[in-house]
Symmetry: C2
Subunit: 351 residues, 2 copies
DNA sequence: CTGAAAGCGCTTACAG
DNA sequence: CTGAAAGCGCTTACAG
C-alpha cells in the first residue's frame, strides 16, 4: 500500500507535468516557460534551449484546453457532411469523400485541426461548434435532399457563426461552388461536336441546391446557341443516384422520347443511365453519348469510361478554407468559383 | 466614440455570456446553472426550467474549453489516416474513405467528436493528441508503405497514449482487423469451385502490414488442402495499386507463367490486373478468374463486376471505437476480428 | 529579457 | 436541493 506513494489507483497515470514543473526544473518562471515554448522571440535563445530541454526531460506537453480557454481560439475548423437521413455510412456520393479528403488536407495545411462529422437526422444535427467553442469556423457540405439539415445550418449561420458551404441551397450565404454554368456549356459542346443531335439533361432543376439548376442553365444556353432545343428529364430524388439514372432512361425509352445524348447532373446518375441503356441493348457511344459531372473514381472503371466535367478539387478545398479564414477574420472575400475541366473518355466519343 | 459603449472594435462581437450571467438572470448561483445544464438530477425540475429559459434568452452556450480544462476529458477521438508521402489528396485507396466514414459515424454514435487528419510526411506527422489534451484517444489507419509514419505512431503508442489501429504493422499493439485468413480461404474456394486450376496470389507478403501476409496464409492453406500448390506473385509496392496489378500480370505473362486464376491482395490491384489481362485479349472470367479483397465501390462498375471478399465495415468501425473506449477506461478487450463475406460477381464466375 | 499576478469559464468537493 | 469557493493550466498585460 505504501509502495504507490499514497496515490491509490492513480499510480499508473501520474499527474501530468505542468508549465510550473518545467519552470522549476529549468530554473525560470512559469511565464518564461510559456513564452519560450510558444516561440515568443522576446526570450533569449539560451533560455529557450534550457526550457526546451526541461520540457523534454519531463515529457511535458501543453494542455491545449488551457490555451484555448485563455486565448479564445481553438485552431479547429469543423467540417460537417450532411447525409441523407439514415444513409450515414453507406451509399454516400463518393464525390463527397474526395472533397472531404481535400478539405482535411487544406485545413491541415492552414495549421488547423479538422473536426469532422457526418450528420443525418434531427437527433444528431449539431452545428453549434462555435457557440460551444469547439471550433473557430465551420464548413458544411452534402446532399441537397436533407432539407431539415440545411434548415438547421441556416440557423447556425444566422446565429452569427463563421460558416462556409459547398454548393448553394440558400443564396444569402457564404458559398463556394463549381463553375456549374461553364461545365454545363462544356457538356453541351462535347455532345454537339461529337455529332449527337438530340441531347437531354437528366437531373433535377427543382433541387434545393442551385448547382443542378446552374448545370442545366449552362447546358441549355449552349444548346440554344447551337440551334437546339434544351430538354430536361426530371429525376426522382427519393431514389439512389444510380437508380435515378436508370429510371430516367427507362422513362425516356418507354415514352418514346427521341434522344441520342445525355448530360447527367452527376456521375452516379450518368453511370445508372449507362447501365440501363446497355441493359436494353443500346451501344455507348455509338447509339447514345453520355456525359457526367464530378469526376468520381468509378467513372474511369465503367465501360466505356465516362466522359465527365471535373471540378478542381484541391482548389475547391483551398477556396473553402480561405473564404472561411477571411470570414473568421471579419474580412471580405469573394472567391467562390471553382473552375472545371472536361475529361474526354469513351462514353461520349463517337468514332 | 461614446456610442459603442467604450468597447472599441469589439462592439460587433459582444463578450459572450457566461454561466454567471445566466445565474444572475435566473436568480440562482453559478454552480446551480452548471448543474442544471449538465443534467445533474440533484437540481429540482423547477430550477432547471428557470435556468434553461435564462440560458436561452441570453443565447448562452457552454464553453467546452473550460469544461475540458476542468474535467480533463475532451470527448474527442482523433482519427489519423496515414497516406503515402505526397499522396495526401489523391489516389488514396477508396477503401479507407469508406472505413473513415464508418468510423466517424461510430464515433458520433458513441457520443464523441471525431478529429480527423490525413498525415503523410514527417513535417506533418503528429499523433500526440492525448499529450496535448486535444483528444482522449486515437484511431490510426492507412497505408503500410509509409514506414516513417508507422514508426511515429508506434512511439505515440509507447508513450502511453490510448491508441487502436486498423491493420497490423506491429504485433504488440492494439489492433482491429479483418478475418484475412478466412477471407483468403474463401477466395481460394471461390476460384477452385469455379474450375480454375492454377490460381496465384498477387500481392505483397513482405509488407509491414500483417494483413496481406494473412490473406496469403488463408489462400495458401486452402490451396494446399485442395492439393494445389500455392503460388505468390510479389508486387512492386512503389507503384500505384492499379499499376501493381497491371505490372504483376505483365510479368506473369512475359515469363510464361501458367495461370488461370488470380487472388489479388486488394480490389485495386485486382482491377489493375483485369485491365492488363483484357488489354492483352484475355477474357474474364472465361480465360482467367479474378478475386479481390475490400469491397470498394468501383468493383461493382468494372466489367465484368469484381468478385471480392468484403469486411463488415460498420462492425469494423464499431469494434475500433469499442476497443478504444475499453483502452481509455483501462479495461481489457480482445474483440478485434472483423468477419468478411464473399461477394460473388462476374469476374470469377465461370459458366 | 524576465517575473508576479490576474483571469479565461467552467466543475465539483464541501458545507449547509 | 442550493451556494461559496477552490482550482483546472495556460497567456498576457504590466512592471522592472
Amino acid at each position: 500500500m505504501a509502495i504507490d506513494g499514497g496515490q491509490g489507483k492513480r499510480a499508473t497515470r501520474r499527474t501530468r507535468p505542468t508549465s510550473f514543473d518545467v519552470a522549476e526544473l529549468a530554473g525560470v518562471s512559469q511565464s518564461t516557460v510559456s513564452r519560450a515554448l510558444a516561440g515568443d522571440p522576446v526570450v533569449s535563445e539560451l533560455t529557450r534551449e534550457r526550457v526546451k530541454r526541461a520540457a523534454e526531460e519531463l515529457n511535458y506537453s501543453i494542455d491545449q484546453n488551457a490555451t484555448r480557454l485563455r486565448t479564445g481560439r481553438t485552431d479547429v475548423i469543423a467540417v460537417v457532411v450532411i447525409c441523407r437521413p439514415g444513409e450515414l455510412k453507406e451509399d454516400m456520393n463518393p464525390f463527397y469523400y474526395s472533397l472531404l479528403g481535400n478539405i482535411c488536407s487544406a485545413i491541415s495545411a492552414a495549421g488547423y485541426d479538422a473536426l469532422v462529422s457526418f450528420q443525418d437526422r434531427a437527433e444528431n444535427l449539431n452545428g453549434f461548434y462555435e457557440s460551444n467553442r469547439r471550433a473557430d469556423g465551420l464548413i458544411v457540405m452534402g446532399t441537397a435532399e436533407n432539407v431539415e439539415a440545411w434548415a438547421h445550418f441556416r440557423e447556425v449561420s444566422e446565429s452569427g457563426a463563421s460558416m462556409v458551404c459547398w454548393g448553394a441551397p440558400y443564396p444569402d450565404q457564404n458559398w463556394v461552388r463549381s463553375d456549374n454554368v461553364g461545365g454545363g456549356e462544356m457538356a453541351a459542346h462535347m455532345l454537339i461536336t461529337n455529332g449527337y443531335q438530340n441531347s437531354v439533361y437528366v437531373g433535377s432543376v427543382t433541387s434545393l441546391q442551385r448547382q443542378y439548376t446552374e448545370r442545366f442553365e449552362g447546358f441549355s444556353r449552349a444548346m440554344r446557341e447551337a440551334g437546339r432545343t434544351p430538354v430536361i428529364v426530371q429525376i426522382d430524388p427519393s431514389l439512389s443516384r444510380l437508380e435515378q439514372g436508370r429510371s430516367a432512361v427507362r422513362g425516356m425509352i418507354e415514352t418514346g422520347m427521341k434522344f441520342d445524348g445525355i448530360f447527367a447532373a452527376c456521375d452516379q446518375i450518368a453511370i445508372g443511365a449507362m447501365q440501363e441503356l446497355q441493359a436494353r441493348g443500346y451501344r455507348i457511344p455509338e447509339d447514345v453519348g453520355v456525359v457526367g459531372f464530378d469526376g468520381i473514381n468509378a467513372g474511369q472503371h465503367v465501360v466505356p469510361p465516362l466522359t465527365t466535367i471535373e471540378p478542381d478539387l484541391p482548389l475547391a478545398a483551398e477556396l473553402l478554407v480561405k473564404r472561411l479564414k477571411a470570414l473568421m477574420a471579419g474580412q471580405a472575400n469573394d472567391e467562390w468559383l471553382v473552375p472545371v475541366r472536361g475529361i474526354v473518355r469513351g462514353s461520349a466519343a463517337r468514332r
